[in-house]
Symmetry: C2
Subunit: 410 residues, 2 copies
């Protein structure tokens, strides 16, 4: 059977989808043909096999079996996807920005149209788990998740770990083609926060906008931070984390200290992964997180499923529950430590604010200044910031801090 798919967007990912569709074996039970693609200025571009148009209505009027959306961004993607769903055309999208902001609206439209809305490529593009768990309610009863969902940040931090500075690691990632020309959404954590919002919609039935999430970028970290991390028994990774109950949730996006016992610590380079805490144990899904060919394969698998195994979203109602402060361990760098009290006195000072020190590094040089690193026991951000403000007030030292996570079973 031939599946006729229309494509919104014909950039790197769109072209990869067209190439992969053209390469399918004729013997497959279903083959996918790209019957048209939306581009901004069709007059300027031609493609040998795929008719290009700048008119979205013409694309939908041709009655494709599936609409594939890889435009990115909010508009015109949102309007065209809603129109397709209202015409009962199944939609496959890789657009986490759109899903993070308008996931509920799109799901409602899919339910009304009685057609699938699949988005496996939006989070950890190469590893199918979102669609799977949507169909498997007993396995998908989870109460917390931790993941590495931005390959560019993971690659950059891996390079910083090897001694590179952030700027050159980023330039390197751009040369190799997996960082965007403007990588600020990757580095700042915005991209990861959009993916966390998509994950919270699915696993916590929670409507959270990316801007409501505590977001930290990776730019404050340096190569010198990795040696004390190793001595504390772990490394530094760009993570997303959230946990929830029936009435409250908490979470964050940002670089974090992760112990070696945590399987996410072993994900190197551009690899992505997610750990889901369920009643029966921790489930881990990991693999390639992005790249035009990986995304194209996942999008076309979604197209095949949308036709061969159609499933309309179950529910589009997202809960609104209270966000509460997240308590974690903290990985702290104190710079210009000459005027700092020594170990025991510093621990006493922090302890007087309710922050308890688990491990301390000896004083080391960082960018020509003396620095010392601490790993604390769990407390809220408010508490550690108050304690560190007191330390700064009592000395000339400045503090930099990120959260620290334990392995699920530790």
């Amino acid at each position: 059977m031939e599946i006729r798919a229309a494509l919104l967007g014909f950039g790197n990912v769109g072209s990869a989808i067209a190439r992969l569709a053209a390469r399918q074996p004729r013997s497959a039970s279903h083959t996918i043909r790209i019957v048209g693609a939306l581009v901004r200025h069709s007059a300027h571009r031609k493609h040998a096999d795929v008719p290009l148009t700048s008119n979205p209505a013409a694309l939908l009027d041709a009655g494709p079996d599936v609409l594939i959306e890889v435009l990115g961004g909010l508009e015109p993607a949102r309007t065209i996807v809603l129109e397709a769903l209202s015409r009962r055309i199944p939609v496959v999208t890789a657009n986490k920005t759109l899903l993070a902001e308008h996931g509920a609206e799109l799901s409602q439209a899919a339910v009304r149209g009685g057609v699938p809305l699949y988005y496996e490529a939006s989070v950890i593009a190469g590893v199918p788990f979102l669609g799977t768990l949507a169909r498997r309610p007993l396995t998908s009863t989870v109460t917390a998740l931790t993941g590495i969902v931005n390959g560019t940040s993971n690659y950059v931090l891996s390079q910083v770990n090897r001694g590179a500075d952030l700027g050159s690691a980023l330039a390197d990632a751009q040369r190799q083609g997996f960082a965007e020309p403007d990588p600020s959404k990757d580095v700042d954590g915005i991209d990861a926060a959009e993916k966390l919002a998509v994950l919270l919609q699915q696993f916590a039935q929670l409507g959270v906008r990316p801007r409501e999430i505590e977001i930290g970028g990776i730019e404050g970290l340096t190569a010198a931070d990795f040696a004390p991390a190793r001595r504390f028994g772990g490394t530094l990774k760009p993570v997303v984390h959230a946990e929830w109950s029936n009435t409250t949730w908490s979470g964050f996006v940002g670089p974090a200290f992760v112990t070696w016992g945590n399987p996410l610590a072993a994900l190197k380079g551009t690899a992505n992964g997610i750990s889901l805490r369920s009643v029966s144990g921790d489930l881990l899904f990991a693999g390639p997180g992005a790249g035009p060919d990986v995304t194209a394969a996942t999008v076309l698998d979604d197209v095949l499923e949308a036709v061969a195994n159609p499933r309309t979203p179950d529910s589009c109602r997202h809960r609104t529950i209270t966000q509460i402060p997240l308590s974690t361990k903290w990985f702290v760098r104190l710079t210009s430590t000459a005027s700092l009290p020594d170990g025991a006195d510093l621990a006493d000072l922090l302890g007087s604010y309710g922050v308890w020190v688990q491990q301390t590094s000896s004083t080391e040089a960082q960018h020509g200044k003396d620095a010392r690193w601490l790993l604390t026991y769990a407390c809220t951000r408010h508490r550690i910031e108050r304690a560190l403000a007191a330390v700064s007030a009592a000395s000339t030292c400045s503090a930099f801090l990120i959260r620290a996570l334990e392995a699920p079973s530790e």
Copy 2:
């Protein structure tokens, strides 16, 4: 909608399935009712909610929507499952022994009946990936796999690593309820080989019987082996591994040295995991591998999918291709080393047989005898055994060897 399921087997797993089915929220879109269960002697047993019978025909004559098979073993499971499929009753099974021996026959029966045959709980029970990848042809184009698929062995080796001997670690596993009363299939590698056969059916379309696979048990390992493993940059894990092309395949089951860079090295306790090498990168699925409650949840998710998302197996033709010798690194323990030539001379002797030494430990005591450990570069089993036979002939030392795997990206 209520799904009426018949159950073959009412032991630990069968009872857990009945309990979990009874606990489902009434609000779910589908609920599952266990309408009867097959037990060996129904006269001796009673159950408040589930009618028990020793007559399989009566169970099928009642026309259940789905048959759940958790009897284990080959017969009568095979005959009843085939009968159900011929009556067009979808089947969900957790029985890897049955699938390993008769997977092709069962798939053919499912294709003929036009009904689903789902077996997600047969390998890494808690983590759905078999059904997912069966539906997603572009993601499931893999050429090699490595996994930890036996939780009892993983637990026992983790305990041996902490200093326990094998017997007490096994007794401990039995006390905690995750080792069978007769754990020989776990310890000998038979259980893992059955699961590898199921994986090869799905991912390599390969009909391989467990007895055709190189199988090693974990019983030869001792606590003393873990220290040199750590110094070589890894640990010892019970693994399955296979790789294949269009014309050949090779693989093994057994304990192996695994480097820390391999995400499987981080799977502790009873955790299971599998790494699939695909064109787009390495995919990892990990989580709880067994236990009555985990298996029950996965079986019931399969039941829901069999009704809401039925999918008949695509193909039941398994290839028969040549098995070729597998070349890997080797982790070798040499005991009673007093008469052994020293480092360089030993390396020369092994080298003269085409075995090249990558790392050597210093001599240490093991069970009161001197022992030395080597990590070699890759070669076939035939080559290393010939080289070690020459070493033993030239001295009084005895050799113990297991394979060594590198991380996918190393």
